[in-house]
């Protein structure tokens, strides 16, 4: 069982923290972080297992690198990054940029260019498998990444290599630079059928409900790679940011910031 109440409270804090940081920089990917907030919280707090020394046993790769704000605030929450790291975000003396860099504590791979994270995660999961290491690799993909041929190349290999230790989450917010995917690329759908055809076990949940994310992941077929389609809303939690492409990259003005902060509340359904 997971503590849903605690998760909802954490997610309130993360969204507020990201809005706070947005006031120090001209641009950041807040909306893409808000759609993945509950998914990434669930991975870090409920899914990643600990070893005897309380060290993370499993690996997390943020393949949708532009969503890394949520990863940064969680890594700060867990004491892996510092408050100073967040204050210096995108500043000359800082070490955090708009996309995660390998080498920064808690960052397992450099992402940001879409369509890279899955193949890298497959390499990690396969190395663990042949070394008999009991470790899961959790990956968050954007739906835009499912338009990259490299993602499908990698999916085919994940199935061929029978990577039951590879657990992927699709942040399906259905929104990209030119508008809603349903309108711009209708043949992107159906998603589930395509994932199944590539040999993955899959399911579909509300991506803002940690219980659903957690329960589905536990029930997965552990002999196959897993890809959970998490239906989300880009900019979730701030009404004027939700599903508006303009908020992909811009920071709110001080007035917009105040309004946004006032709107942040528990999300569970």
């Amino acid at each position: 069982m997971i503590d849903k109440k605690a998760s909802m409270q954490r997610c309130i804090n993360y969204r507020k923290k990201i809005l706070d940081i947005s006031q120090n920089v001209t641009a950041l990917h807040a909306a893409g972080a808000f759609s993945a907030t509950e998914i990434v919280d669930c991975i870090y707090y409920d899914l990643i297992r600990k070893d005897d020394k309380n060290k993370d046993l499993d690996t997390f790769v943020m393949s949708k690198g532009h969503g890394c704000m949520i990863q940064y605030v969680i890594l700060k929450d867990k004491g892996i990054l510092s408050e100073k790291d967040l204050i210096d975000y995108c500043k000359p003396n800082g070490r955090l940029g708009c996309h995660p860099d390998y080498g920064v504590p808690g960052i397992e791979a450099s992402t940001g260019s879409l369509g890279h994270g899955l193949a890298i995660s497959i390499g990690m999961a396969y190395a663990d498998k042949i070394k008999n290491i009991n470790r899961n690799v959790y990956v968050v993909l954007s739906d835009g990444e499912l338009q990259e041929g490299s993602t499908w190349e990698a999916m085919m290999m994940a199935s061929n290599l029978e990577l039951g230790n590879l657990i992927c989450f699709l942040d399906h917010n259905g929104s990209q630079s030119f508008g809603h995917t349903k309108l711009t690329h209708p043949k992107f759908y159906p998603i589930i059928d395509k994932i199944k055809a590539f040999g993955f076990d899959t399911n579909e949940v509300n991506g803002h409900n940690v219980e659903e994310i957690y329960d589905s992941t536990l029930k997965r077929d552990k002999k196959k790679p897993y890809l959970l389609v998490c239906n989300t809303v880009k900019g979730k939690g701030v009404s004027f940011m939700e599903n508006k492409p303009i908020w992909h990259y811009r920071s709110p003005t001080p007035d917009e910031y105040k309004l946004a902060i006032s709107e942040i509340k528990e999300i569970g359904e």
């Binding site: 450099s110 497959i122 390499g123 990690m124 999961a125 190395a127 042949i130 041929g149 990698a154």
Partner: protein, 305 residues
């Protein structure tokens, strides 16, 4: 060189469990049968999917493995270029990319299978080491270094089959990062890398009959580039002849000319490179090189001018 390369990976991989081989439906002759049969879990064929070959190799390297990725040069370097740049070079991971049959070796397969710009492209990437051994002996040494000692990504250009051993009686040992003198001579220096060093030996044989004794250098490491040694070579000879199976820009010729400018050398430099052209011509390797302007007779003619 393909068979010898497969043997090298097998032998080195037998002693080091970190070594794994990834291929994209093309593999060295015999399909690396020995390695595959003995270490099936360390052999991955991604199918005709070069981007995921590089990405998976990066993930393996992030877990402490030392992968080697193998296919025809144009598919190992050009097709997944951005994966090499981001996954391997940006993260500085010890993954070796083999560019097999580089240059215009696959003469009759046409332009889609030629890689005439690989040295320039690979060398332009930060953190990348670029190697082009001239024969199976240099290749064995280079492979050993790539698989066990390199600290970052390597692009290694290889020939195809039937390359003669040129470095058996070399004047100097093989050292990564160093220009290597194979034959000591005077007045004329012949410099090349990879399998076109064979041409240098043919040129030298003809010149010997005329009482000339040129030196031959193997520039097997294109990056990092041994500028110091090149600056000494520029000072020590009357004529510098560079032969490379590569477009004029961004290869050995460009680099040596840069050195000449930097070290204020006035020595005569003659370059024989591929043309900056896609040549639609079907003949054997030697005939296609001739079309590009690289042949023993042209080089001899230039030296005699």
């Amino acid at each position: 060189m393909r068979n010898k390369f497969a043997d090298a990976v097998y032998e080195i991989g037998s002693k080091d469990k970190r070594i794994c081989a990834l291929v994209a439906d093309i593999s060295p002759a015999g399909s690396m049968l020995k390695f595959r049969e003995n270490y099936p879990e360390r052999f991955i064929n991604t199918g005709v999917a070069e981007q995921s070959m590089i990405g998976i190799a990066a993930g393996l390297a992030l877990r402490g493995m030392r992968p080697v990725c193998y296919t025809i040069a144009t598919f190992s370097l050009y097709r997944p270029f951005e994966f090499i740049r981001v996954d391997l070079c940006y993260q500085n991971l010890p993954v070796t990319i083999i560019g097999m049959g580089a240059g215009v070796i696959y003469s009759t397969l046409g332009g889609t299978h030629h890689s005439m710009e690989d040295i320039a492209i690979a060398s332009s990437l930060p953190n990348m080491t670029v190697l082009a051994p001239c024969d199976p002996i240099e290749m064995r040494n280079a492979t050993e270094w790539c698989l066990t000692k390199s600290n970052g990504p390597v692009y290694m250009r290889l020939g195809k089959a039937g390359e003669p051993n040129l470095s058996e009686n070399a004047n100097e040992p093989f050292d990564i990062g160093k220009v290597r003198n194979l034959i000591k001579g005077e007045k004329i220096a012949l410099l090349s890398y990879g399998i076109t060093l064979n041409i240098c030996f043919k040129v030298r044989e003809i010149l010997k009959n005329k009482g000339l004794s040129p030196s031959i250098y193997s520039c097997h490491t294109l990056k990092p580039f041994d500028e110091i040694r090149i600056s000494q070579i520029l000072k020590s000879y009357d004529k510098i002849i560079i032969i490379e199976e590569h477009v004029p820009e961004g290869g050995l010729s460009t680099r040596i000319k840069n050195c000449a400018w930097k070290y204020k050398s006035n020595v005569k430099i003659h370059t024989f490179t591929l043309k900056d052209q896609f040549i639609h011509f079907y003949g054997n390797h030697e005939e296609l090189l001739e079309k590009h302007g690289i042949s023993v007779s042209r080089i001899i003619k230039k030296i005699n001018e």
